[in-house]
């Protein structure tokens, strides 16, 4: 065994070492790019109030697409919150995805809906829309109903019905900054080549919500949510802005993104896959190159969408497995891009970087850990070296997280209290002691699941909440999951208090794809 290690595994160990050096350098490059991008952006928006867009006659119109499935308890607040978004030409398109509860009835009674002839522009094939309703109170609210067919198909139906230049995809439990759309629309105004723009997603656990708006922005006080908050900061303040300069992003989170509607229609909209958000962006970019007009994907760091993250390891594990499956699926579907000069920077830089530094990272990290432990056990590697090597791996992880926290501190500082920010430092350290290794396992399982042909989203457990205590959660609503069919997200209102009610503290989870890659390490 010792001889085998020396003959075969030692060279592998060197490969792993070289890989880690490359990975560290890559992330430092990403950080440098992100820091430059952020600096320019902060200077650009200093003292900018975005007031002009509010009353502009030439601002592009936006349709917000809201897929809903069994959201009876929450849909009213969700839609009310969207109706209060400050944007001049806004349309809200809610599509009920075959709810078996009273979602549609609640919408009809609350917003005074009346049915109209269900004719619309069927640009993308979907399950038929069975009814379309308009509101007497809110002319810009459209509600449609169809049989259940999953989130992607429902979004495509909404896309068919929408009539604006831009469409905004939202996870139903996302809370937007009121001026988020005004900020996010800027890249589209700037260049006609921009086909999509993504924004920052932040962890809402620990924050308080009132009337559908974020009342206080606090950092999570629980380890699991806190560590995820650090991951999100790393992904959205470090990874995405970094890619803005290095060749463009490959992912816009499904939780909050703005797309050029015509581009979506030309590329057949959303695909039924567990990673539909990333797949869509890759397809948009690919289509751009294939039609001779490279399509730009922009990331804007300061419009924020707040979302809850899983608070239980098991749910988190399922989420990360699913992300990795979706990620693998997308890379496989678009494998033709890999080092293909026809696709320019996308094929030669961005796509390979995602394969090497994002998709392969858990595999190599797992191999590295096993080899070091094995080497130490066989006496080939001294225990001191093994410990030092492990410390180095953790140190680099901590350094990357700290760099993200530094960017946050020097830029937006949305988690207002110093105590919250200090806690983030603690979570950044703790992340490397167990959590990071767990994510490696989850991501590997995701790859294995994909190779095994698993296509479902897995069972998702949802909670409601009542109290103002972070510790308290209320109802555990079992999922209505149908195997093989993506489960639409919970409603916005799950995070919101009814009008007049006291602010509520979030304590629940939801599924939001945070990054292009499972552990969101920098990406």
């Amino acid at each position: 065994m010792r001889q085998f290690y020396l003959d075969v595994l030692v060279p592998v160990t060197y490969v792993v070492l070289v890989y880690f050096v490359g990975l560290a350098l890559f992330y430092l490059a990403l950080f440098g790019s992100a820091a430059l991008d952020m600096r320019r952006y902060l200077r650009e928006v200093r003292a900018e109030r975005y007031q002009e867009i509010l009353s502009s006659e030439v601002a592009p119109s936006i349709s917000v697409l809201v897929p809903a499935h069994n959201e009876e308890a929450t849909i009213t607040e969700s839609v009310r919150a969207l109706l209060t978004l400050s944007y001049p030409q806004l349309e809200i398109v809610v599509v009920d995805d075959g709810s078996t509860d009273g979602t549609l009835a609640v919408l009809a009674s609350t917003f005074d809906l009346v049915p109209i002839q269900p004719v619309y522009d069927l640009r993308i094939a979907t399950l038929p829309v069975t009814a379309i309703y308009r509101s007497r109170q809110f002319p810009h609210l459209v509600v449609a109903a169809k049989d259940q067919s999953g989130k992607a198909d429902t979004l495509n139906a909404a896309l068919n019905i929408a009539g604006s230049e831009l469409v905004c995809s939202l996870d139903a439990d996302t809370i937007l900054d009121p001026d988020g759309l005004r900020r996010l629309v800027r890249p589209f105004i700037r260049s006609p080549r921009v086909v999509a723009a993504g924004a920052t997603i932040r962890v809402a656990n620990g924050c308080t919500v009132s009337q559908g708006r974020m009342a206080t922005e606090r950092g999570p006080h629980r380890a699991l949510a806190g560590i995820q908050a650090v991951e999100y900061l790393r992904a959205f303040l470090f990874g995405r802005p970094g890619w803005n300069r290095l060749g463009g992003n490959l992912l816009i989170s499904g939780a909050f993104g703005l797309f050029h509607r015509q581009s979506l229609l030309e590329t057949d909209g959303y695909t039924k896959t567990v990673g539909e958000d990333m797949e869509l962006v890759v397809r948009l970019r690919r289509h751009g190159y294939e039609t001779g007009q490279p399509a730009r994907i922009e990331f804007v760091p300061d419009p924020v969408a707040w979302t809850e993250t899983p608070t239980a390891l098991r749910e988190l594990g399922r989420q990360r497995e699913r992300w990795q499956r979706g990620f693998t699926d997308t890379l496989w579907r678009h494998r033709r891009l890999f080092f293909n000069p026809r696709y320019g920077v996308l094929g030669m830089v961005v796509f390979p970087a995602f394969v090497f530094f994002e998709w392969m990272a858990p595999v190599v990290e797992a191999v590295g850990l096993v080899l070091v432990v094995l080497g130490a056990l066989l006496g080939v590697i001294s225990p001191l070296f093994a410990i030092l090597f492990f410390s180095l791996a953790c140190g680099i992880g901590i350094l990357l997280s700290m760099l993200a926290l530094m960017l946050e501190e020097l830029s937006f500082r949305r988690y207002g209290r110093a105590r919250d920010r200090a806690l983030l430092v603690v979570w950044a350290v703790l992340e490397n002691l167990g959590y990071r290794q767990l994510t490696v396992v989850w991501r590997l399982r995701g790859v294995m699941d994909y190779l095994g042909g698993k296509t479902s989203w897995g069972k998702m457990k949802r909670k409601g909440f009542v109290g103002s205590d972070d510790e308290r959660s209320t109802s555990d609503t079992p999922s209505d999951h149908v195997p093989g069919v993506p489960v639409p997200p919970a409603g916005l209102g799950a995070l919101r208090s009814p009008p007049g009610a006291p602010p509520i503290r979030l304590s629940v989870r939801h599924d939001t794809r945070l990054a292009s890659q499972g552990s969101a390490r920098g990406g």
Binding site: S56, E57, V58, V114, R190, G395
Partner: protein, 350 residues
Amino acid sequence: MSPVDLVVVTLIVVGAGICAVLTTVAVSSLIQMHRVRREPRLAAVRQAVVVALSGPDDPGPGAFTGLSRSTRRYVSAVLLELAPSVNGTSRMVLNTLGERVGMLGRARRGIRSRRWSTRLYSARVLTALGVESDALVGLFDDTAPEVRAQAATWAVATPSPGAVAGLVGLLGDTDGLCRFAAQDALIRIGLPAFRALLDALASADDDVTGHILEIAAAGGDGRFAGPATDLCGHVAPRLRARAASALARTGDPAAGPVLVGLLDDPSHEVVLAAASGLAQLSYWPGAAEVEPLLSRPSWEVRRQAGLTLLALGDPGTVLLWANAPGDGQAADMSIQALQLRSLAAGGAPV
């Protein structure tokens, strides 16, 4: 160097990096905490400014006691915060305060800075407070597109002939943000800008012509009727469509027949614009020509036809009712349009 030494050295470097980053974070946090402790002073500044705003036109030096003790940063923040909410006399008071604390002086110097970010921020300060400056015109040629766009926004408050000319020039800018800001500014300026736009139309290229027509469509000045009518025959469908929109918005008596003529245009973009224009004009004599559009293959054209007939009053409604009993696309769209009509009227659905 042995592998262990190499790892140790790397570890030390990484550790030092972590310490440096942590120190930066800690120092920044401490500065922030210090600012938060001074928050009551900020409240006092805000109060002093509001008191000054509610006082006489020139509150005198006494009113600035609180301000003079505050930092410039805070004062600037307060003034910028309040500026969009006030105008008239209050704006003048605010400007006086800005002058006395040196904020406007710095901004005037700042727009000549070598750093684009300083020029941009200074222009934003001057825009927020509506200050006039000869330097504005120079900013239209700035190397930074953000600054040019800000200059366009600034020009709304001070639409001198030079500024309007600069705005018209920005319509051909390579940066979309500048074009957007210029279009928006020219729409807001309105009448004083239209003469310059009409002059520009004579020599503009297709892109700029399109932007001018968009402004005309938003502005609705009758003087655009002639050029828009001419451009309805332009070779580019995009320009014909925009010309149709602009022409409709002028409300010119001759516009209806021109737009009816465009309903047979081979470009569905032009047909859409013409139908939409007829709706804006409520040109009911064109109803019979709009009706066939209900059967067009393009969903957008069918939809616009339904909406247009709806807007044409009784003649259009009669045609919608006539089409409703059928079984095809025209019937579907007619029913939907009639339902929208009853919805708008607050009645029961058809």
